[in-house]
Amino acid sequence: MIITWLYYLIVAYVVVLMVWNLIRSRKWQEEVLYVVVLLPFVLRLLRLK
């Protein structure tokens, strides 16, 4: 259970990092990349897969 909580904390941390980078980005290619990479992390946080 502790490992599970740590795992979700790490996932949430990565999500925050990528959202932060998305906000700061000035290139549309990078923004698309961040959004695509974010998808599995968000779905993981929602415990959908």
Binding site: W28, E31, L48, K49
Partner: protein
């Protein structure tokens, strides 16, 4: 301008997430109705046999089909590997249609229910599949071979089977057919096996039938795998079926390979375990597009080409291996095993009717034997 562009990109991402999320949600939460048939006397749950399972993903329904006359008890396990749908569909046909004259049949449609709520990562599996019926169709979860990592994780570097201490592949700690006989303090999948062993002992089960399917590149196919103490039953069933209906072999459970139902149930209980395998081209590594059509029709040009090059252990042609054929094989094999057992054990006979044999299943199709839950008495509808 920058904010507008970001908003559009995020919105597109959310649309993608919604589509993917809907598919994953269907995999995990789709309810599959079972209309309890004429012989279903009661429906328990697996948690009643081992409390820690209660309320978990594997607290599966347990259907008790009982005849008027006392006799033997047969346990039928569907969904040990949910990605082998002929097994689960056969249990639906049993639970909804079987009429017991003597003895009992205990049916689990979702032996590893957790595994039925996920599909193989990166496998591009369909989330669900639908069996056509006169009343429209019934949709089932596709499922996977292993328990859902949402219910059991992390996996170890090496899975050490209990109690043999045999080293097995790491992910097989989530494979119900590598975890027998289970242990009370183990993982969810091990606890599920332990609960099933309690069920087998408490209900004095005589025969356990574990329904599976296999890829054509796997040598254990179109066969009955049996514990040594059930060799006579499997041999007679195999000979009779091969003579009268379709070719099916038999194999003795190897003593060196641990964790499998046909080995451990025989070693750790009084029951005789048998495992049925039917051919499923969907599972072959050389398959083409992995979709519900392939799952149900069993037709694949690449697998046919592999067969022409002598790479398969079962024949395949352009007709493929449709689901009706695969379920029909399981139904006929089950009927034959019951017949052989009952012939040799009159006091523990299990006499059943109402379940179609191979030819009838091919003629009418699986859907003809699924009942419309909308027209059934709500008290008789249970959800997997």
């Amino acid at each position: 301008m920058n904010a507008l562009r970001k908003s559009v990109i995020v919105a597109l991402g959310l649309v993608l997430a919604a589509f993917a999320g809907a598919s994953f949600h269907a995999s995990r939460f789709l309810k599959e109705p079972v209309v309890a048939g004429p012989s279903v006397a009661r429906v328990a749950t697996l948690g009643e046999y081992f409390a820690p399972i209660k309320g978990t993903a594997n607290d599966a329904n347990v259907f008790f089909l009982e005849g008027a006359k006392p006799g033997g008890t047969v346990l039928v396990l569907g969904g040990t590997h949910p990605e082998e749908p002929a097994g689960r569909l056969t249990t639906w046909i049993l639970a909804e249609n079987a009429v017991l004259d003597q003895g009992r049949i205990i049916v689990l449609n979702s032996t590893n229910r957790s595994a039925s709520t996920v599909t193989r990562p990166s496998g591009a599996y369909p989330a669900t599949y639908t069996i056509k019926t006169d009343w429209g169709g019934q949709t089932f979860r596709m499922g996977d071979r292993w328990s859902n990592p949402l219910d059991q994780w992390p996996d170890p570097e090496v899975y050490i089977h209990y109690p043999s201490k045999q080293n097995l592949a790491y992910m097989d700690i989530r494979n119900l057919n590598r975890d027998w006989p289970g242990r009370p303090g183990g993982t969810l999948t091990e606890q599920t096996c332990y609960a099933l062993i309690q069920l087998i002992n408490k209900e004095a089960v005589d025969i356990v039938i574990d329904l599976h399917e296999a890829e054509l590149q796997y040598p254990v196919i179109s066969t009955i795998v049996v514990h040594p103490k059930g060799l006579d039953i499997a041999a007679m069933a195999s000979m009779t079926l091969s003579d009268e209906e379709f070719k099916i072999g038999m194999e003795k459970s190897p003593a060196e390979l641990r964790g499998l139902s046909h080995r451990e149930i025989g070693d750790f209980t009084k029951a005789v375990p048998l495992l049925f395998e039917s051919p499923e081209p969907f599972l072959d590594a050389t398959r083409g597009r992995t979709d519900a059509r392939l799952l149900l029709e069993g037709k694949d040009d690449f697998v046919v080409r592999a067969g022409k090059r002598g790479l398969l252990f079962e024949k395949i042609d352009e007709k493929g291996w449709p689901i009706d054929v695969r379920v029909g094989r399981h139904c006929s094999t089950l009927i034959e095993v019951l017949s052989v057992w009952s012939g040799d054990h009159a006091d523990k006979a299990v006499v059943m009717s109402g379940v179609p044999k191979y030819a009838e299943m091919i003629q009418k199709g699986v859907g003809a034997f699924l009942h419309d839950p909308a027209k059934a008495d709500p008290k008789k509808v249970f959800f997997e």
